[in-house]
């Protein structure tokens, strides 16, 4: 039984962060069940790191073995394929991808943005096409027509979006205290209060905070266990998207 009132959740995410991919997929799965008004907001995590002087765990060598283990098992548990492309995250930057998604958000709206985000995440992590090639952008056709895709790509390289990204980083850090991704800003329906949740593992805490009618049942709102990505197949388990 979905809650009657709509709660608002703003997700600040970056393509370069696999935990953002987990949060993005899970939030959209729970959108109907929790009657959420989701506002997807692409943000440049590299900029956030520089602005807050924070370091991501990938730059702390003693923490890397645990992160690798953790990513793999959360990928299984949540059925989201984040087997990283070679050179990620040390040699990759999501700057142009975020500029593009920012332009999509302004030009096309939330639904197309959600679809483009999903396609770009899949192309980056699962298919592992090199994001610097032209071929990478072909994944967005036919969600966007070829002309529209070219137009939005051109728009994303204008000053408006290049400067806009810096504005977004500044606003996110100063208004929400953001220092990493994924960052969720939730507005409760009952009293309008706002709170922030960092990480893809905060959904049950967010559900508790939103109210007793927001029940967390695991990776899928109907409580089913998903098809694991990295571990071998068992017979009888059907893959789910």
């Amino acid at each position: 039984m979905a809650p009657l009132q709509k709660a608002h959740v703003k997700l600040l995410y970056d393509i370069s962060s696999p935990y953002s991919y987990f949060a993005f997929a899970t939030l959209l799965r729970y959108k109907e069940a929790w009657n959420l008004d989701v506002d997807l907001f692409p943000i440049f995590l590299g900029g956030v790191m520089v602005y807050t002087e924070n370091t991501p765990p990938s730059l702390r060598p003693m923490e890397v073995p645990y992160i690798i283990l953790d990513k793999g098992r959360i990928s299984d548990q949540y059925s989201v394929d984040i087997r990283s492309p070679p050179g990620h995250p040390m040699d990759t930057t999501s700057l142009n991808l975020i500029r593009f998604l920012r332009a999509v958000r302004e030009e096309e709206g939330q639904e197309i943005l959600a679809e483009c985000t999903r396609l770009i995440f899949e192309e980056f992590y699962a298919v592992q096409t090199d994001y610097r090639t032209e071929q990478f952008w072909e994944c967005l056709v036919p969600t966007l027509t070829k002309e529209n895709l070219a137009r939005i790509r051109q728009l994303s390289q204008t000053t408006r979006h290049k400067e806009g990204i810096k504005e977004d980083v500044k606003n996110a850090v100063e208004n929400y205290g953001m220092f990493g991704a994924p960052w969720m800003v939730a507005t409760r329906a009952s009293d309008g209060k706002v709170d922030v949740f960092f990480g893809a593992d905060k959904f049950d805490a967010m559900g508790w905070w939103l109210g007793p009618e927001y029940v967390w049942r695991g990776p899928y709102p109907d409580g089913q266990n998903p098809y694991p990505i990295a571990t071998p197949r068992h017979s009888g388990i059907v893959a789910r998207l």
Binding site: T52, N54, E63, R73, I74, Q77, F179, F198, D201, N225
Partner: protein, 280 residues
């Protein structure tokens, strides 16, 4: 329903780490539901960060602000009347406490170590006694105020263990522990859980024979922080369910300080700590 075979858990913690308290309480609450065999391993978080670098244990101010806020939120969700201690004693000041716990682990039973850990956590996060004051250790002699009697250690026994804790042997063991967890489990902060899954046993033996000669457990995984309990349940197997801070799933129905409409009960910290006191 958890299987009869116990799940072995190594719980690596430090009193100075707030999340260690939350994970410790969670493991105690789930002890029966998941049939856990908890091996408490008090370590020096200071010693760990000396090897691994500041990193996760020493974040930038903006991240620290969020972590402190999140701790307050988690404390309420878990139904614990705890707050970060004022003045924020550094992990280094708790070194004597780590030595004491390590000495306890050597000479006393796991039950006594568990009781003392609970009492120290409460003294540090509820009563807010300074850990460098001698009065901090009164809690293990006098016990919890609710139990109104003898604590887990008598005064003479406490003095013996205190003397042992100051010895060079224990100092060496504490340092060895830190080196071991960092090299074997890649630990970089607390709380750190190492879970040994119940192995699949399909030998053609009877139940009793299997329990007498169990298969050696080689499959283990590490879990860091308070947000990996559902992943821990996923790792252990489908019979292990994570139902939130309470194994009967009652967190949704507890009264809250935020006063959501429709919940007539007032927030009463005394009532919420009752299940913790029942363990002492």
């Amino acid at each position: 329903m958890a299987p009869i075979e116990t799940v072995k858990i190594d719980f690596i913690y430090d009193i100075s780490s707030p999340n260690s308290y939350i994970v410790f309480v969670t493991l105690l609450r789930y002890r029966k539901a998941w049939n856990l065999d908890i091996n408490l391993r008090p370590v020096s978080l200071d010693g760990i960060t000396a090897i691994t670098g500041p990193g996760a244990a020493n974040p930038v101010p903006i991240k620290k602000a969020y972590i402190d806020r999140d701790f307050g939120r988690m404390a309420e969700r878990w139904g614990l009347d705890i707050r970060l201690p004022p003045g924020r004693p550094s992990p280094a000041s708790l070194l004597k406490l780590v030595h004491f716990l390590r000495a306890l682990k050597d000479v006393e039973s796991p039950d006594v170590l568990t009781q003392c850990t609970v009492l120290f956590f409460e003294e540090y996060y509820s009563t807010h006694t300074s850990p460098v004051a001698p009065a901090f250790y009164d809690c293990v002699i006098k016990g919890h105020p609710a139990s109104r009697g003898q604590g887990p250690l008598s005064e003479s026994r406490f003095k013996e263990i205190w003397a042992l804790a100051a010895s060079a042997e224990i100092e060496e063991r504490v340092q060895k522990d830190v080196k071991e967890v960092v090299s074997k489990f890649k630990t970089f902060s607390c709380p750190w859980i190492v879970a040994y899954k119940v192995p699949l046993d399909d030998r053609p033996l009877s139940r009793e024979e299997k329990l007498k000669n169990p298969i050696e457990r080689t499959d283990y995984q590490s879990f860091f922080g308070p947000d990996r309990m559902d992943t821990l349940a996923y790792y252990l197997g489908p019979e292990y369910e994570w139902k939130g801070p309470f194994p009967d799933g009652r967190e949704r129905f507890l009264p809250r300080a935020l006063g959501l409409p429709g919940l007539p009960v007032e927030f009463n910290p005394e009532a919420l700590n009752s299940d913790l006191k029942a363990m002492l």
